[in-house]
Structure formats: C-alpha cells, structure tokens
Amino acid sequence: MTATRTAGEKLNPITGFFFYVIMIAGAVVSIFPFYWMAVIASRERTAAFRMPPEIVPGTRLIENLERAFQRIDFFQSLWNSLVVAGLTTVSVLFFCSLGGYAFAKFQFPGKKFLFGFVLFTLLVPQQLSVLPVYLIMAKLSWIDSYKALIVPSMVNAFGIFWMRQYIASAVHSELIEAARIDGCSHFRVYWNVAVPIILPAFATLGIFTFLNVWNDFFWPLVVLKNEAKYTIQLALSQLHSIREGVDYGMIMAATLLATLPLMVVFLLFSRWFIAGITTGSIKS
C-alpha cells in the first residue's frame, strides 16, 4: 500500500540538491533534541548552562542516573507503566477485534447507525468527561488503582474502526461459513479463523495503543496520588522540580533511559505504526 509514486518528471540536479538540503535540515531538527538529551545526560549537572553549549557526550551518565534513582523509584514506575500499558493493549486488541469482527461480518438491525455512532464518539474531546470520570473513580475507590487507568480505555472507537476495515477485506466470508457449517460457534470462528488472519492488524493497533497509554500524562496525573503507583511519565515529571534546584544532568539521564526502550520498539516496528497513522487519516 505504500508503493511510492512519482509526482513529477525527473528533477534536475540543482533541484535535487536543494531537496536533499531540505530533507537533511529537517532530519537534523528532528534528531538534534535527542542527541542533546544524550549530551546533557552524560555530563556534569551544570553542563546545560555552558556557553557555548556542549555538543559532545561526556562520561557521567551513570552518576546522573544514580542521582535520579535516589529521587524517584525509576524501575518501579517503569514496571507500573509496563503493566498498565500491557493490560490495556491486550484488552483493546481483544474487544476491538471482537467488535470490528461483528461490524464487518455480521448482519444485524441498526448496524450502520451503530457504526456511525462509534465513529462519532471519536470527535468528543476528553476534557468534557474528565471531571465526572474522576468522580466515578473516587466513588469506586479506584483512585490510586490501575483500574482507573485501564478500565476506561479497555476498548476504543479507533480500534473498532481499524479492525473493522481490516477484517472486512482480509477475512473472507466463505471461510467463516465453512467453519460455521463444521459446527463452530460464532466466538470459535472469531477466535480460530479470524484472529490468526488479522495478526498484522493486531501489530499496528497494539503498538499504537501501547504507545498512547505509555505516553499519557494527564489522566494518570489526575487519578494517581501515591508515588509508589506512579507511571514513568509522572515519575519523570517529578524530577523537574525547581524547589530542590534543577539538576538537568539527572533529568536528562532518566529521560534518556525511559525513552530508549520505546525508540528501539519503534525502530523495529515503524512500518506497522506508520501504516496505522496513514490509514486512520485517509478514512477519517
């Protein structure tokens, strides 16, 4: 689906040269802050204020990290994020594919309207529901519980939409009918026939969901009060406290360590992820 097409005739060398200049300049802009993070993370704590700025990494990464570990429970919060993002992702994959399967392959009254409704909910901004959802969590005593993070995002409209589109084209109805004639229940057909076929869609939606949950800040900030429960994003933000004097070496070291795993995952799976972004936009 990503076959690149040409938009014009062959370019002359001068235009080509400018094109490379533009692209490389943009790439430098995209990469430089990451590089700068690595530089500051590996230098003494005052390095951020050096003029002219430091541009070569130093050797103090471990020391900086140790100071960060004294301030926040880094690995605990990393684990917390992993648990929350992992459970949410599994749940989203299951319920969204189930819903998408029904919308793609079943006939039932009101289907069109209900699917339209699902898409419509994509347009509702989060801030409109934040306060009552917080109050619900308080009522349920789910404040400081991961349930408050996981349960509201167990299934989402984008996921259902994404799965429906994929299943409609990838899972052939004859396959489903054959399995039905063999006496499989609807759920078994979904599980044994559809799921193995739609694993690529799982990959895309899975990465997308995991990253979103992993990176979320606002909602965890609202419902998590106990530092032992903090996700990695909350823990990182804790480091940036002016009261105790800003230690940028420490902050960047921790940020680097927290960002690196996701970068690696992204570089491994970038094809799936970018495919998800573009499909979402074209259909919307």
């Binding site: 370019l11 943009g26 995209s30 079943f106 308080a138 900030l221 940020t255 970038s270 936009s281």
Partner: protein, 292 residues
C-alpha cells in the same frame, strides 16, 4: 447472529455509556452547580459561566492557548507539506529512513519532550546562546510573554511535524500519477500541475490535519505543565496558563468543580466554533482554489 453481533459490540457501548456519555451529560449538569465534590451540590444558575467569562485569568488562558497553537501549528503544517512534497519526489533516496527519522519525535512522550526542551530553554542555556548569535540579548523563556509561547510552540512544532508530514505524504501518494501525466501532455507546467491537481486533491488531508491540530491544541496541557514543573494557575507564570491548566486548577487544586465543569463546556464550545470555522474556510478556499 444478530444477538451475537450485539454481544460482540456491547463492550464498547457499555464502556462509552459509563465513561463517555454519562460523564458528558453530567459535565453540562454540573456546570450549573456550585460544588466542592464533597458537600451537597448547590444550584448556581449561570453564575459559574459569569464567573469564568469575567475572570481575567480565564481570558489570559484563552489567548495563550490560541497564540501558542497558531505559532506551533501554522508554520508546522507548512513545513510538513514542504517535506512531504520533497519526500514524494522521484529523485530522493532513503525515503523510508527519512520517514522514520521524522516520526521519532511523535513517539516520544510529551513529558520527555517538555523536559528536553526545558533544558534547551533553560535560563542561560542553549536557546539563549543561539539567539545571542543573532544579536538578541535577553529573552525570558520562563516568564516572558513571547519567550514562554515560543518555547511551548516549538515543542508542539517538533513533536507533530513528522506526524503531519506522514499524513500529507499518504495524501500525495493517493493522487493518481495518470492525472499528472495527462496534464503534462496538455502542456501544464510543474507549477500549474501543483496548483490545479495537488492542492485541490490534498484539501481533505489539510482539513484533517488542521482539525486534529485544533482539537488537540485546545487541550494543550502537558507541555506547559511539565515545563513549569507542576503547577496550577496560581503558580504557573501567566504567559503559560492554557485553558486546560485553568480547568485542572479549578477542579484539582481549588476543588471548584462547578466552575471547572463550566470551563469544560466553554472549552468545548470554542473547540466546536474553531472546527466549524475550519470547515467553512476549507470549503470557501475550495471555490477559489480552482478545481478543473
């Protein structure tokens, strides 16, 4: 089959009813009450709205949100389009590598982005050094009216540039090459082809990115919140208070849930207005954009 169908889609609707529909209705209801989330709710008429709309801090937050988004989004979309056009051209090699590089900022958490740029925009830091090369002596990145907005707008710019470029690229690739071939045979030059084929066919994609940027931008929160290291309206420097920070402070710092709900409603109305304005402008420019 119908029953199973309903069963399979029910989780979404159940969840949306509890954590989507009910809260939205309740937000509108709550916006007419005075409530600290503990005691009894007291009907307050439209006083919450009156309070917000006459509150200087609210209008500051409104202006800040608008300005930061304009500064962070307009140049960003222009750059994203330029990059997408270049990336889509025949000549360029390593397209895949460029796409991945440009997309990296978008997978980085906003907290990490805000922290990295906090360092870049530290007082006496790298950004100060850079502007001094251009003869600008003193910019207060932490408290100045423009300094704060530039810093936050750059965070928005940096994180979303690649995302929007990918979308424009997908749009450009969806345009059939035959259209260009046909126009070329008819003698249309590169500029004519760009204005009369590329621009009109890219309109839905531009509309989409502007809409997403508007809706997301109105909820700007994490960047200024982390940049100013955890604060509400009371402690955030004035140039950095966004509408979402205002809402958050009302609810979770001062426990005025009624005014917070009213803020959410007002914020929603503004989002709606800007989205409709966006639709209107897109349709209008369509008329003069020259469809063949």
């Amino acid at each position: 089959m119908a029953l199973t169908g309903y069963l399979f889609i029910s989780p979404f609707f159940l969840l949306f009813a509890v954590f989507g529909l009910y809260p939205i209705v309740f937000t509108f209801y709550l916006s007419f009450f005075k409530w600290d989330a503990l005691g009894p709710m007291k009907f307050n008429g439209i006083k919450n709205f009156q309070f917000i709309l006459t509150d200087d801090t609210f209008w500051t937050s409104f202006g800040n949100t608008l300005l930061i988004n304009l500064m962070g989004t307009v140049p960003q979309l222009a750059c994203a389009m330029l990059l997408a056009v270049v990336l889509n051209s025949a000549l360029l090699r390593m397209k895949q590598a460029f796409r991945v590089i440009y997309f990296m900022p978008n997978i980085t958490s906003i907290v990490a982005v805000a922290l990295i740029f906090s360092v870049l925009f530290a007082n006496e830091g790298a950004a100060t050094w850079l502007v001094q090369r251009f003869g600008v002596e003193e910019v207060s990145w932490r408290a100045g009216f423009w300094g704060v907005k530039i810093a936050i707008a750059i965070m928005v710019f940096w994180r979303w540039l690649g995302y929007n470029m990918i979308i424009y690229l997908a749009g450009l690739q969806s345009i059939s090459p035959e259209l260009y071939e046909a126009a070329k045979i008819d003698g249309a030059g590169a500029r004519v082809r760009f204005l009369h084929i590329t621009v009109p066919l890219m309109k839905p994609f531009i509309f989409f990115t502007v809409l997403i940027s508007t809706i997301g931008g109105m909820q700007l929160f994490t960047e200024p919140y982390v940049y100013f290291s955890q604060s509400g309206t009371a402690t955030t420097p004035k140039p950095g208070i966004t509408m979402m920070i205002y809402l958050y402070s009302e609810a979770f710092r001062t426990n005025f849930f009624g005014t917070a709900a009213a803020t959410a409603v007002v914020l929603f109305v503004f989002t709606l207005i800007f989205s409709l304005l966006n639709t209107y402008v897109t349709n209008r420019t369509g008329g003069s954009g020259g469809d063949q």
